[in-house]
Symmetry: C2
Subunit: 213 residues, 2 copies
């Protein structure tokens, strides 16, 4: 029986090291690569084609979501498990949409992580109990109508980030080299999509929404 070849991508060095340590000391597993940023994760997946990728969502320079998508393409046999400190189902959902086969929060136990790896390696999907207890069904057979940050476009998210920093529409326009009017339209569309009344509530929604990545 061959060992399951695992790659760990997590920007927290300590977490990465300790997982590596724990998993490597289990005879069923072998950690063949680890890295702290998304770009390197994609490169390493291309080179080593791991059986399982443990992918943190919060990564630089781009998110674990994008990295997941890319790895799906360049190494289709690699199965990806999303790992995050966020318990909000929306994270898990997005991660599964991007092609991950499992999702485990950092609240989960070591045993749960190991089970996730085994399940996903056998071709099953796995979602940790914490998430499962919140939405389970809703997630796997899907219907979405509530205000959701996932409906926002890239441009809109970009503008939200600048709003958060305290930039005015004029400043945002200058920063992005677009017209003030365009920024205003984007702001209006954002508030409409999320059914919010003003920028203050928008920032609060974004900050408290785990779907933000």
């Amino acid at each position: 029986m061959n060992k399951i070849r695992i790659m760990i991508a997590d920007d927290h060095k300590l977490i990465r090291e300790t997982w590596s340590y724990i998993l490597d000391s289990d005879p069923r597993f072998q950690v063949i690569a680890e890295c702290g940023d998304a770009e390197e994760a994609v490169d390493l997946a291309r080179l080593k084609h791991p059986d399982i990728v443990l992918m943190d969502i919060n990564m630089t320079p781009f998110s674990g979501l994008e990295a997941t998508q890319k790895i799906r393409k360049i190494s289709p046999a690699s199965r990806i498990i999303g790992v995050s400190m966020h318990s909000q189902p929306a994270y898990a959902k997005k991660m599964l949409q991007m092609g991950a086969r499992g999702y485990v929060t950092k609240n989960s136990s070591k045993e749960e992580m190991i089970q996730a790896i085994l399940e996903v390696h056998q071709g099953n999907k796995y979602i940790c109990d914490e998430i499962k207890n919140i939405i389970s069904d809703q997630l796997l057979d899907e219907k979405e109508n509530s205000p959701n940050i996932n409906t926002l476009t890239e441009r809109e998210m970009q503008i939200i980030n600048l709003i958060k920093e305290g930039l005015s529409s004029k400043e945002i326009a200058n920063s992005l080299n677009i017209s003030l009017k365009t920024v205003e339209v984007h702001r209006h569309n954002i508030l409409k999509k999320l059914k919010l009344k003003n920028s203050a509530s928008l920032v609060n929604f974004i900050n408290t929404s785990a779907t933000y990545f």
Copy 2:
């Protein structure tokens, strides 16, 4: 030479377990307690009086900041190291103000964590390189003039909470049965105190401010 008796308080089970594992396998350390919530952390500190407490900031039912304060009182010999995934100096600062002797982000390496424990145990303060590179001096010799949420009054905090919810000044005035003008003055004073430009950045500041609990 006695082992350094360590207590770990972190609401992420996996992180807690792995640290416990790592530290316990080092002959210099002995993990005598671990827990996942702040209340338990205080109780355990009262009972066991650990040499070192690794205290995560994000805890339930109250924050690691409050837990730190309480442990300082009931177990003055215990030295506390703040641990967090947040790299913002404001977190570290607040943690040190609350009585912690060290601060380490989860970006730090295992080696850095061990060094932190050894330094703090010897009576020194320790801040991880990541934070140190950002503000170091500013933090350790402490002077209070930066925008601080603690300078806000009760009424101002009350109004901030309504702003967060998306209420306009007029709605806030109605809600609190005061004049629109009064609300506007409060808003103005809040922005002035915190050196912010608008409500969006205010909400972001409040949400991401570790001093808010």
